[in-house]
Amino acid sequence: MSEDKFMQVLIGPQHPGSGHMRFIVKMDGDIISEFEPDIGYVHRAVEKIAESKRYIQIVPLVERPILADTANINLGYILALERLLGIDAPPRAQYLRTLLAEINRIHSHLYGLGIHGIMIGSSTIFMWCFADREIWIELAQELTGARITYSYMIPGGVRRDLPNGFNEKLSKAIAYMEERLKDYEKIFINNPVVTARLIDVGIIKKDDAIKLGIVGPNLRASGVAYDVRKIEPYCAYPEIDFDIIVRKEGDAYSRVLVRFEEIKQSMKIVKQVVEKIPSGPIINESYLKLIPPKLREKAEQTGIWKMPAIFINLKPRKGEAISRVEAGRGEVTHYIVSDGSPNPYRFRVVTPSFRNLIAFKYTMPGHRLADIPAIYGSLDYFPPSADR
């Protein structure tokens, strides 16, 4: 223990409430006076490795750091790549992308809600969220063939068509989830202990949220109606009706509520997507041409497409492209610099967790030690995605 009146506490990386990072906390009694997140424990150099990989190989690479929200991160990369290639996905593919992105958003929010629950000691909400998350994971698995690393979006389209009987399963899942959300309200949202722990804790005011550049539900909980899906609509979002959930308080509880309501909004979107989805090809015609007619016929019957061989040697034009996508945790920005070769010259991805990191430093001071997990959970921070 240091001699002055401050005590320095190091929390993590092996700590039940830290995740894959370390907090360097300076305590004045029970009050935090300085808070410094020490990240980099999961830094695996995605950006450097991407420079050694072909464009299509980066699709699975960008997913790995953000395992809880792979579809959205992938979508962002594909959008940036498509801008470089000057190609666009057909309408059906756009709807399928939206479908997967929203399913992923639901289970990403459930993940965040569950982790937040266990952070303040409610193991039940953790278990429930993770149990119900499996339902959405299974739907996505049915659609894409993988549990969480979908690699579903490819330049110019998607990998697979909607499987048979998907709509019934989806409507069943939505009906079930709506019932469950009522249970969540009983055990978590309206629990007196939860409200006592979260209300007026970790307040980020509107001005601060803008200044610090917070993203996603955390930003919207502070009263800023910023959602990339509305500001710069991509995929099928322009044709779909949904609301941006905004709350004014900016405390940990309102962040939970925003996430909670967004699950409902996502289910609304998913419902509309399966109703409105147009028929047609799922890959851009210019790539479809490259598939031999026999294989193409077979693919149209089964709905499973084999990727054309050209994908290994995609050569975008020289230049750069930036894309932004509203992922579950917030805005993902992909920035690609191409020099015309099959490998990107520079690949940059800024994930929502990395943008939210700054919130730790400026929100925590003034709170108690016991508030660290409450605020940490409410920010829905996913360390591997911040470290990349």
């Binding site: 092996q14 039940p16 424990y41 999961v42 450097k48 993770f130 499996e134 969480i148």
Partner: protein
């Protein structure tokens, strides 16, 4: 004088410890111990990378690793399994080694995912460490990320290793 007493006490302690270990390693006691340990594998809360998401799913209702007596617990001191969940970065490798050394014996290591085996998709990264370079891994789970069923399988494999192959040895006998 005092110094020599403490030294002799220490050596007596070591001697006692060795005798105790000999007794414990005898047949009936060893079997009881192995049975107890194999159903009480508690990993420490130590998430090294993104496979942690699937690890969490493994202890969640659909897969429920607690059926095997597998309970993620708080600190290294009270646990006996280090669960390497995915890539070990250089910074994290130091922590992993420290966590392993803090654990009381007998202790085990399960390495999850392709990254601890050979680097996986990050094989050419400058910042990763392979698990076997720093820890004696008992069970590997291949996959990127492995499914929660595979995690459950790894627990059963470790149980078998302890029960049938005498996996739970104290360090002095290894």
């Amino acid at each position: 004088m005092v110094f020599s007493i403490t030294r002799s006490l220490k050596s007596f302690g070591k001697f006692l410890r060795r005798i105790l270990i000999r007794i414990i390693e005898k047949r009936p006691i060893r079997d009881i111990r192995d049975w107890g340990i194999s159903y009480s594998l508690w990993p420490a809360h130590f998430t090294t990378a993104c496979c942690g998401a699937e690890f969490a799913a493994a202890s969640a209702p659909r897969f429920d690793a607690e059926r095997f007596g597998f309970l993620p617990f708080t600190s290294a001191r009270q646990c006996n399994v280090v669960f390497i969940e995915g890539t070990l970065s250089r910074k994290m490798a130091k922590a992993a080694r420290m966590v392993f050394e803090q654990m009381p014996e007998p202790k085990f290591v399960i390495a999850m995912g392709a990254c601890p085996i050979d680097g996986g998709i990050f094989w050419n990264s400058y910042n990763i460490v392979l698990a076997h370079n720093i820890l004696p891994v008992d069970v590997y789970i291949p996959g990127c990320p492995p499914r929660p069923e595979a995690v459950a399988r790894s627990i059963m494999m470790l149980q078998d290793k302890i029960k049938k192959m005498g996996g739970a040895k104290y360090d002095e006998l290894k």
